[in-house]
């Protein structure tokens, strides 16, 4: 019995030693956060950032207009990583016309400057055909496809004539370029996760989310068992 208890005590001791070392090291590091500037350093490992859910962002729609990336997150429209305007409807496409970027929703055209500044929203009150399904260019003129047919205008976008054409270069969704995604991730999540936060999460088990609490509970039970088996063996030696 005594031999079996010693064996159990040794196994539990080895296991607990690993966690105690981890707690001791992370605890010491946290004690010196300021000196080590842990609160000013940020994680750069992608797999870890993905674990925290701050590595990527998922746009509802992305269109590339000239050198600019137009994306939509809920109601917010971004030009590259800068917020430009808000829209009530999903973006369905965009074209570049002279010195204008034109972004279409199903009920309006959103005009943006080449720098990405919001100029104006043109809806049906300004003569824009309703129920827009796509936008494109035909020999430099803007063309929109609506449920009611195809319409062409000029750079003023005020007069639209119904047409039937082929060979139109229609706008289509594109994947988000990595560099803009990184900038947008920083816009939404800040610089990311500090090393201090990471070490703190290791220390308190939050790195494993809700499982971390149970993990630390199991560790505490192990320490209690280690203490009990140690006391039991000490008691046996005294007899």
């Amino acid at each position: 019995m005594n031999r079996r208890m010693r064996s159990l005590h040794r196994s539990m001791g080895a296991l607990v030693a690993l966690f105690v070392m981890m707690l001791a090291i992370t605890g010491m590091l946290l004690n010196h956060t300021s000196e080590l500037k842990l609160d000013q350093r940020y994680l750069t490992w992608n797999w870890l950032l993905e674990h925290y859910g701050v590595a990527t962002v998922e746009a509802d729609a992305v269109f590339l207009l000239d050198q600019k990336v137009i994306s939509q997150f809920d109601k917010q429209v971004f030009v590259d990583a800068q917020p430009a305007t808000q829209v009530q409807r999903p973006i369905i496409g965009g074209v570049v016309l002279d010195d204008l970027m034109i972004v279409a929703t199903d009920d309006a055209l959103i005009l943006l400057s080449p720098e990405g500044e919001f100029i104006e929203r043109m809806g049906s009150a300004t003569g824009i055909p309703s129920q827009i399904q796509n936008i494109g260019l035909f020999h430099g003129d803007p063309v929109i496809q609506t449920r009611d047919g195809m319409w062409r205008s000029d750079f003023l976008l005020e007069q639209w004539e119904k047409i039937s054409l082929s060979g139109i270069s229609w706008s289509s969704p594109q994947p988000m370029p990595d560099i803009v995604e990184t900038d947008l991730a920083e816009y939404f999540h800040g610089k990311g996760i500090t090393v201090e936060r990471f070490i703190l999460d290791l220390h308190n088990g939050h790195i494993l989310d809700r499982f971390g609490v149970w993990f630390l509970d199991a560790f505490a039970v192990l320490i209690i068992l280690l203490s009990l088996t140690g006391l039991w063996m000490w008691g046996r030696q005294l007899r």
Binding site: T85, F118, I119, E120, S124, A125, T126, G127, E158
Partner: protein, 167 residues
Amino acid sequence: MRSIVAVTLLMIAFSVSARGIYQTDEAFLAETFNNDVPKSQVVWIKGDLRKSISDILGHNYAGLRIRYWHKDGRKAWVLEEIGKVEPITFGIVSAKDKVEKVKVLAFRESRGGEIRYPAFTQQFDDAKLNGNELDRHIDGISGATLSVRAMTAVVTLALYLDKFTSQ
């Protein structure tokens, strides 16, 4: 208990019903100009005008130009302003430096929809500019403070733009 549930449902129903498009921009213009809507014009927001508009709204105007419709001395403006978090769309008709009509065309907030009632909007009838402010006090509505503030700012802006485009 039943009465609490009934009152709660009533409140939810009221707050939901406040949201909606009450009149399209097109219908507002058609009504204003008796179905003979003039070609729209634009005013570019730059320089001193941008600064004045910022002073009126209390923040920078989100756009580089504002569109309006002008016929026989009457001008129609379709302007948006944030109430609390969502934009409210207003239709305003100005004539001879005075407000002729104010309407809420679309309301997207959960509270404050009472500003659309004529009993409230008629306070703006014949309102004029006194400096960069309205020439009168607009009575507020309990629970709709931000919507009232948005409407007052937008009406002031329309009158200011009316004056600016008449110069």
